[in-house]
């Protein structure tokens, strides 16, 4: 029995995808900020990839200096509002909060963070401005968390910055990939406008950089190039029947969901293939779109899933069912998807092995492949001297994120292979400093 009816209007969509971390009101923020102990050498700061001075900003909220709190946050992390809502805080700051050890609810750091930042975003209270122009120009490819964060930091350092973005909106997967119950499009884009208004970088939308001549033009016109291109499309399964109608990649499905909201069509019975966080998201999203049955099928056991435990709990809470130790062998159907043929598996010495003769067909009318995003290897091969590691990640210096082609720097998913928004934001600041170091020394 489905928990949700298919949404037929924007309003119903927002009801089904209600925010997991709703905005705090002033009283809530006062109560919650009052609880913070102001720990010495606070473990929450250490657990934040961007090292936000959490006790400081919480104390600022508590004393009525919300603008100061927002400044503390943005000084460390330009995606301050988005991160407050989309970060897996359970395994980051909130997971490190000392209250956990007392079996007391940890401080709701993420919500407090968004409480402060959203106020300055909405009131257009600007906290930063570009630095003195230093006469140098940097180009950024990709307006995702990495690209935008790098742009802000470079502008603060006085660089002229142009961004080329393939899509029509900034923020990358924050607006195209993150689940809609974590953050709304409007909220993401409001923060992007807020940043651009202060730092004044230029963004060219619908402008993919695709060819060697494109790159050459940039190499000639700019002092340094930052690659904030993230990852690519969903990996192909290479299974028979994969081309059938209604067999879709998770990243593509979610992007369409974020764009079209209730107008997207989901199957009545959906099978999601994968055991990572994206699989959990796609399964939850299908359920909230009104699919009657959602099955999460994974090659190994439940405990082997890569997804965070709370993400699996969230999926279960909306009615998603797990099907473990099964591997897909064929997408069956006639033009359209009609089911998935699985074979049962066992994990022996860490290796997944198919159990002969155990094949069965699980009927469904939609398959979502959440089997990882491909790396942008063919695009990256256009850059002379740029090395990738065995997993297709860009090789870069750990202190500057300068790549093996000295004019190129990178951060975010393209560098780390696919992490979180907060990692992209943290790394991009380091990369901007790396660029500054490199160009200042020349």
């Amino acid at each position: 029995m489905a928990e949700y009816l298919p949404p037929t209007s924007e309003q119903e969509f927002h009801a089904n995808f209600a925010q997991l971390k709703p905005r705090m009101n002033n009283t809530e923020a006062l109560y919650e900020s009052s609880r913070c102990l102001f720990c010495f050498d606070a473990p929450c700061i250490k657990a934040c990839p961007t090292g936000i001075d959490i006790p400081q900003f919480i104390r600022q909220i508590n004393t009525g200096n919300v603008t100061g709190a927002a400044r503390t946050i943005y000084e460390a992390n330009y995606f301050g509002n988005a991160c407050g809502k989309v970060c897996p805080t359970e395994v980051l700051c909130e997971g490190a909060c000392v209250y956990n050890l007392q079996d007391v609810k940890p401080i709701e750091i993420g919500r407090l963070q968004s409480f402060a930042t959203r106020q300055v975003v909405e009131s257009h209270k600007y906290l930063f401005e570009p630095g003195q122009p230093n006469g140098r120009k940097v180009v950024i490819i990709g307006a995702g968390p990495a690209g935008i964060s790098c742009a802000c930091e470079l502008r603060a350092l006085g660089y002229e910055v142009d961004i080329f973005e393939a899509k029509s909106q900034p923020s990358g997967l924050t607006v195209h990939g993150v689940a809609p119950y974590k953050i709304t499009n409007e909220e993401v884009l409001a923060e992007m406008d807020y940043l651009q208004a202060q730092f004044g970088y230029r963004v060219q939308y619908n402008s993919p950089i695709c060819s060697r001549p494109d790159l050459l033009a940039l190499e000639e016109a700019y002092d340094a190039i930052f690659l904030g291109i993230g990852l690519g499309k969903t990996n192909a399964l290479l299974l028979p029947g994969e081309e059938r109608e209604n067999c879709v990649g998770a990243v593509e499905f979610i992007e369409q969901l974020r764009r079209e909201h209730h107008q997207i069509l989901v199957g009545r019975k959906v099978i999601v293939l994968g055991g990572g966080n994206t699989a959990m998201d796609a399964a939850s999203e299908s359920a909230r779109l009104g699919a009657e049955d959602v099955i999460l099928a994974y090659r190994r056991g439940k405990d082997d899933m890569g997804a965070y435990e709370f993400e699996y709990d969230l999926a279960k809470s909306v009615g998603v069912k797990g099907l473990f130790n099964v591997a897909p062998v064929e997408i069956v159907g006639n033009g359209r998807v009609a089911g998935v043929r699985f074979i049962r598996t066992a994990t022996v010495d860490g290796q997944v092995q198919a159990l002969p003769g155990s094949e069965f067909v699980e009927p469904c009318d939609m398959v979502i492949k959440a089997t990882g995003q491909a790396k942008q290897t063919s695009f990256l091969s256009l850059i002379p001297g740029l090395q990738l590691d065995g997993k297709g990640r860009i090789v870069a210096d750990a202190h500057t994120y300068q790549t093996t082609n000295p004019q190129y720097f990178t951060s975010g998913d393209a560098l780390n292979g696919g992490a979180e928004v907060v990692n992209a934001a943290a790394e991009a600041k380091v990369a901007a400093r790396g660029i500054h170091h490199y160009l200042s020394a020349r």
Partner: protein, 466 residues
Amino acid sequence: MPDLSINFAGIKSPNPFWLASAPPTNSGYQVMKAFDAGWGGAVWKTLGVPVVNVSSRYGGVNYRDKRLVGFNNIELISDRPLIDNLREIEEVKKHFPHHAVIASLMVQSREEWHQIMRDVTSAGADGVELNFGCPHGMCERGMGSAVGQEPDVLRTIVEWVMEVAQIPVIVKLTPNITDITEPARAARLGGADAISLINTIQSIVGVDLDQFAPYPIVDGKGTNGGYCGPAVKPIALNMVKNCAQDPYVQLPISGIGGIENWRDAVEHILLGASSVQVCTAAMHFGFGIIREMTAGLEQYMTEKGFHTIYDMVGKALPNVKHWEDLNLKYKVTANIHEDKCIGCQLCYTACEDGAHQAIGLREGTRVPEIIEENCVGCNLCSLVCPVENCITMERTDDGTEHLTWKERTLAGTIPTDFNDERAGGLHHWVPEPTAALGKEKHKTLPGKARQLGTPASVVNDLVRKE
């Protein structure tokens, strides 16, 4: 079942909990409601020539999310005609003959004092309380704390009152004075039957940062008011104790100031009060708090085996000593219970920056460590620790020695010159001043993404697994 009833200087009351003279006792309606709820007595809102009040009268002190830990007012005495109040006193007494109704009074001339004493007595009041305490508005007219601050004037007025008094007379004291026992003694010399304290403390409760005016704001301006509520309890307790221990006072004491629950009341009683009065807590939470207060007091008395209130009045007084009589040989040392510690390191930073550098941090754990040789046993760490009983102060002397400052003075073994070898802190280890430099940097630097040289682990450890 313990007996909560009291006989306070001749005023009988079913329990020691009275409402203090203030807005909760403005009218017969309120006092009847309070008695109905379980209060034992009420000191009527101060009567005299009715006043005119300003609008916007109270200010509050909030601590973080806690409202009204302190409260301040710029209200005066009753603004209702005397005749209405007298009629209502009479009516209350008719319904509640066994409850205590005490009329608080504040007038100027001897004739007025005589007249109002006769009026409230014939209305049926069980006693009177002379308000020599109000620290704002009335004192500027030569009444209230202006009287309470002049022991001779206070004594004269008490004498006037005693000339006609047929019911017990309580004198309410102002805390806005250096030595509370002076007016208390004057009250005794004047013939008063009892004292009550404290009235409110002169205060400015806060300043509006936009209007540049003190709270409460009356058309852009403000004035000093009277401070009360939980925050004033420590001041009240000390003054109650001072009066209770003074050999020249020797009067029953009604304890007032910061009483909100049974514990506060017991503290006042243990220091010498034999009735207690409550204002702010009733204004904040209503009369219903009385149920918790009586239940808590009963439970406490049962557990301690006290049969009447008088079994406990002043029970802590023998243990309140002068500093010079405390045992210098007694020693406690902080002890961290590792199993309870949550690693907030508040104790570390408190002792490091605010005490004696007697707590250290160790590699590989967030649980701090007490450096016993440095610990002076000040309690600070145990006070800041957010976990109950996580830091306990354990006795470390063997309990056989007893030596006080007074004894040392007599024996001539106290430090006397500036660089005396007998300085208490002489052998305490103190770090070199320059060791402080750069120490803050050892803790996590916020905004680590700003630093060059972020460890590579940021990149490698957090890959979002597909």
